[in-house]
Structure formats: structure tokens, C-alpha cells
Symmetry: C2
């Protein structure tokens, strides 16, 4: 018998919430029968839905929230809303009532609220957004995806430590290889920030796993299990890859619907194409994780369906069950970043007013 | 009768040089019968080759170069080689003997030599690398692709001006739309550098063409005709897109060769798939251009074939014939960047020792 964990769930976030969320928990109930879910949102609507989703009802406790954070609400406005479903989910994690939370709501609001209310792990300068992408050699973890548009050496090193733990915890790898995204693989390439971060990583406890610099094409090639980069580059790279896949997907759709012969050909290779589609299924990669917080925070894509939401719940459960944050804390102690003072930071420092990226579409979409 | 232009050609750069180069000029001779080519390299080998490629011979003058810049030579070493084919081609442009040059050689060496010997256009702070990519809505120009790993506001604005002229000159557009790559499309997203650059562009003569911020997925979607970004992000984005396309290409190859039925299906949709392959053909997009120099410098992919090299020659000819540099000079005068002093610069300033990216693979490869 495994221990019981509680996850808070923002029932009102997402395009098809709250039904999509409750339906997603119906799937989650099968996979995590020992978990408990604190389902937060419009009590009346949630109770009606739980009448239809019996398995979800068995694992959920409903908590009423009178407000909802809309998708276009600015983070500053979201911070003022104390009774929103998102805020109450965050409060439950901050108070220790829940070990983590899942929300398909407004990304910027979730990030801002989580940083302010749940706070960063001791020793972590900046929490980051991480997600899993498909590659030619298995799943790849990439971070940061937009939480920090400018990063210094320390941030990149912390991202590597957190990415390593993420790959071990969620992907189940023993010694994930780690690459630092750059404009070339030679040691002299890039700017001082990436070069200094590479030096620190090489000398650290994860040195044996550190592959060195990787380039954009290494993401899809799966050259390393973890790709570390600043939030600006990571956000652009993720969306560029998604865009390229979507372009091909649309072109292929045209090819296979261009006439009766093409449609017949489609039927003949359908199993293979279905495998491709399944492999790139955005739902499989749903769940961008805010790593480096005092609790597990998973952001589901806003447009996801129940199955995608259940995947985001899986990610949160993996992180909670496998002690994600405790392991980060242990590893940070080993790398000794705490001994570095802020004055030692250099590189692309955060400027006042720098706005994080939209990562509402942090998955590889294929149309 | 159009005017005659001379292009210098580095005959020794590229994996299959010099034969690939001379063969490429055989194609170019058909398309540009009025052009003259100064073919620089090993005289004996070139004369033998020109014996086989008669049309190329008719338009070429051979100049002997006793040295060759290898692909792994550091830019500093390349600078010391005064008799290399690449150096003599650059000298020919610097002296005005040729209007431009094409080389499939070492990218870093070419960039360094061009900046030092040919020099930047008056009013241009930093030359950039630009290239054309396919998108759902036609060809897209992206820059910088790695010449400058850190860029300030002024650099981004200059890239926009040069990208606009490039799209008009090479793509033949009347009023190309211009997007500034960012982590979100809202005005508040990103850092001070992109926000300030956006403000300047909005108020400038290309304001009506300025679409505002675009995101990674907008590259393949073709949301704008020109994508402006710093060299770090541009290099990563370009290679990430290439990598994603290559991944799908390999998967499709597997699907269509997985058995006799799949092979039959392939034959049935072959015209459509051939169109896809042709559309994404790296040779069509061969020719990364170093914009902002006192002469036209086109870098062909090192692994290209004769047809790809001929495409790079086309790009160089388009730029020369359509007065690319004169038009940049006119537009820079209109935007008035010259009045900004270096002290006004801010943002991601270049640090000493920042190394440009490898852009030897600046094309969208599809396997």
C-alpha cells in the first residue's frame, strides 16, 4: 500500500472547464486510486458533474470558489482575486494541505501566483517552466520555456539540476544526459553566460551526464534527454518546432485528401500514420511543469480534453510520488550554488519589467 | 540589354568543391548570360573542369589561389591566410572588382573576413546573416541567424530595415510584413530590448509594414514575410525547425518502406509527396546572405550540390541587380538610426568574446 497524496485541482481553468476537468479526473481515478483530489470551483456545477462521473466522485472533495481567473486577465489583476479557483488551489499547496496542483487556466496568472504564494524552493533563484517533447530517441525534457526571458549563469545551472531530477522522476531515467542549448557545439561558441554555465556543470556532480552544448536540431534528434536554455530561447524553440510539425501535418492532410487514389493510399498506410499521430499527440505531452517551487505545480494546456488533463495529473502524481522537490534540494546542496552571492551573477540578467512568455501552448501540436 | 555584373566565386569552398562549384556555374551561365564570374582557386584543376563545363567557361575568368580555408579552421587562422580562395574572393569585393561573392566554405571564417575586409555599410552597426525558409504562406526571410549572439535595440531595428529590403529585392514583394520574434504577441511581452525595438519600428517609415511581435510558430505559419530576431534565438529557431522537419521526414520514410502495401501506397501519393519534398528542398533555400556589408556576400551550404550552388548564385545576382545595398542605405537614412549614439544603446549588448553561431546548415533540411 503506497502513501496517499492530495492534489489540488483548479476545476474552472481551461476552455472546456469544468466538465473537461471532472471527466479527466474520472480517468485519473483509475490510474491513481490512492490519490485524493481537492476539486476547487463552482460547487453547484461540480456536484452536478460528479453525479455523472462516479469514479471521480469517489476521490474528490469539492471546495467552493466564487471567482474564476479568465484567460485574458493580467497577472496583476489575478493576484487581487483571492477567491478564485486558481488562487484557492495555490493556497492549498502553500499551506501544505495539498502536495501539488493541476490547472488548465491562465499561464501568466498561475506563474505569478505560484511564485508569490507558494514561493521558490530554498536555494532556487528562479522557478522555470519545463515540458516533455517527442524526439527521434525518446522523450526530451526542455526548460526554461518562458518563465524567465533573461537568465544568468546561476539560473541555467539551476535549470540543469532541476531538468536532471525531472528526467529521473517523470521519465524514469537513471542518468539522463544534459545539453545546454547554444548556436554551435564547440566550446567557444555562444556568449559568456552559456560558456560559464557549461564550465560549472562540467565540474559539478552532474558533470558525467553533461554532454556540453547542443544546437536547435538536437531537440528533435534527441541528442540529450534534457535541454537547458533561457526562457526566451526555449519558448521560441518549442513553438518553432510545434509550428514546423503543424505545417507538415497540414500538408500531409492535403496530400491524402486530394482524390480517391490518395484516400485509398491513406487507408493503406493508416496504421503507420496513426502511430506517428499518436507519438506526436499533444495530449501525451500535456502538462508544462513549474519547477523550483515549494510544491508541485502543473499547467495543463488550456485547450486540452479530458484525456490530456489526465496526462497532466499523471505528471503531477509522478513528481509528488517520486519526491521531486526533495531530490532537487539534495542535488542543489551538492552543486553548492548557495555559496555564490548575487554579485557573482553575470550574463543576461533579468531587467525590470521583463515579461514572461505565453506558454499556454507548451506541447507539440500536430493539427 | 541589362548591365553586366561581376561576381567573385570561391571555387574551393564546400564538401564537393571545386567540381560542384564549376558545375553549379554551368547552370548559372544559362540563367545569367550577362554576368561575369571571377572563379578563384586552384588554377590547374579549374581549367581542367572548365574544359568539361563549356557554358561555365564562357562566363568565367580564373584567378589562382594557392591556399584553401578548411572547414575546421578558426576564423583567427583564416584571417592570416592571405592567398586563400576565400580571401581573394573577399578582396575582389572589397576593391570593387566584383559586386558580390558566393562561397560554400567555412562560415565563421567567411563572416570574420567579410566584416574585417569588406566592412559594414556606413550606418550599419552589425552585419547579419539572413536566409529564406518555406512557410504555409510562402517564403519567409529570417535574420539574424547567428552572426550576432547578443543584440541591442539598434541591431534589431537595423535587421528589420535590411530584412525589408531583402524581401523586396530577393522575394520581389512590394510591402513585406515584418514581425519581431518574441515569447508572446502582446505588447508587454519580452524584455526591454524587443519592446523598445518594436516602438522604434512602429514609429518609423516601415511602421505600416510592422506587424508587431510574432512567436515561434509564426515562422512556419508565415504570419509575416520577415522575421527579425537576435542571432542566438534565430540560430536556434532555424535549426529547431529543420530538426523537426527532418524527424517527420525520417518517420514518413519508415512508414512508406514498412512493407509491400506501404510501398504501393507511396507510389499512389508520390506526386503529392514529391511536391512536399520539392517545396522543402534545401537546395531551393540554399544561400544564407550576410547583409549589411559593403558588398553582396552569399554563403552556400557546404554540403550542397551544383543545383544548390546555382541557387546561391541566383540570390547573389538578385541582390546585385536590384541594388540591395543602395536601397538599404536609402532606408537607413529614412529611419535616422545614425543620429543615435552608441551611448543610447541598451539591451543585450555584445560582450567581448561572444562567438557567432555555426550557420553552415542554414537551410531547412528534410533528409
Amino acid at each position: 500500500m503506497t502513501a496517499t497524496f492530495t492534489l489540488a485541482v483548479d476545476a474552472m481553468g481551461g476552455d472546456k472547464a469544468p466538465e473537461m476537468v471532472v471527466h479527466g479526473l474520472e480517468y485519473a481515478a483509475e490510474r491513481h486510486p490512492n490519490a485524493k483530489f481537492l476539486l476547487i470551483g463552482d460547487e453547484a456545477r461540480l456536484n452536478t458533474l460528479l453525479g455523472r462521473y462516479k469514479r471521480a466522485r469517489a476521490i474528490c472533495t469539492v471546495r467552493h470558489a466564487s471567482e474564476t481567473i479568465s484567460n485574458d486577465m493580467k497577472p496583476t489583476a489575478a493576484l487581487r482575486s483571492r477567491q478564485s479557483s486558481m488562487r484557492l488551489a495555490i493556497d492549498a499547496v502553500a499551506s501544505g494541505e495539498a502536495s501539488g496542483l493541476v490547472s488548465a487556466g491562465n499561464t501568466g496568472a498561475l506563474l505569478a501566483l505560484a511564485k508569490i504564494v507558494i514561493k521558490a524552493l530554498p536555494g532556487i533563484d528562479r522557478p522555470a517552466m519545463a515540458a516533455i517533447s517527442p524526439s527521434a530517441r525518446g522523450d526530451v525534457v526542455m526548460l526554461d520555456l518562458g518563465a524567465n526571458v533573461q537568465c544568468d549563469v546561476r539560473n541555467l545551472v539551476e535549470f540543469a539540476v532541476m531538468g536532471d531530477v525531472f528526467a529521473r522522476t517523470v521519465l524514469g531515467l537513471t542518468a539522463p544526459s544534459i545539453g545546454l542549448l547554444n548556436v554551435g557545439s564547440e566550446e567557444l561558441k555562444g556568449d559568456d553566460t552559456v560558456r560559464e554555465a557549461a564550465e560549472i556543470l562540467r565540474a559539478s556532480h552532474i558533470g558525467p551526464q553533461f554532454h556540453g552544448f547542443v544546437e536547435g536540431h538536437d531537440i528533435a534528434a534527441g541528442t540529450t534527454d534534457v535541454i537547458v536554455t533561457d526562457g526566451f530561447t526555449g519558448n521560441v524553440a518549442l513553438k518553432t518546432g510545434e509550428g514546423a510539425l503543424k505545417l507538415i501535418g497540414e500538408f500531409l492532410k492535403q496530400v491524402f485528401t486530394s482524390g480517391i487514389i490518395a484516400k485509398l493510399a491513406y487507408l493503406m498506410v493508416r496504421p503507420g500514420l496513426d502511430r506517428l499521430r499518436e507519438w506526436l499527440d499533444p495530449r501525451r505531452y500535456n502538462g508544462a511543469v513549474m519547477v523550483g517551487l515549494n510544491g508541485v505545480v502543473v499547467k495543463s494546456h488550456g485547450g486540452t480534453d479530458a484525456m490530456g488533463f489526465a496526462h497532466a495529473v499523471d505528471v503531477a502524481m509522478d513528481m509528488v510520488v517520486h519526491r521531486f522537490n526533495e531530490r532537487i534540494r539534495e542535488d542543489l546542496a551538492r552543486i553548492g550554488l548557495d555559496k555564490r552571492t548575487p554579485a557573482e551573477k553575470n550574463g543576461r540578467d533579468q531587467k525590470p519589467g521583463a515579461q514572461p512568455g505565453s506558454t499556454d501552448d507548451t506541447h507539440l501540436a500536430t493539427a
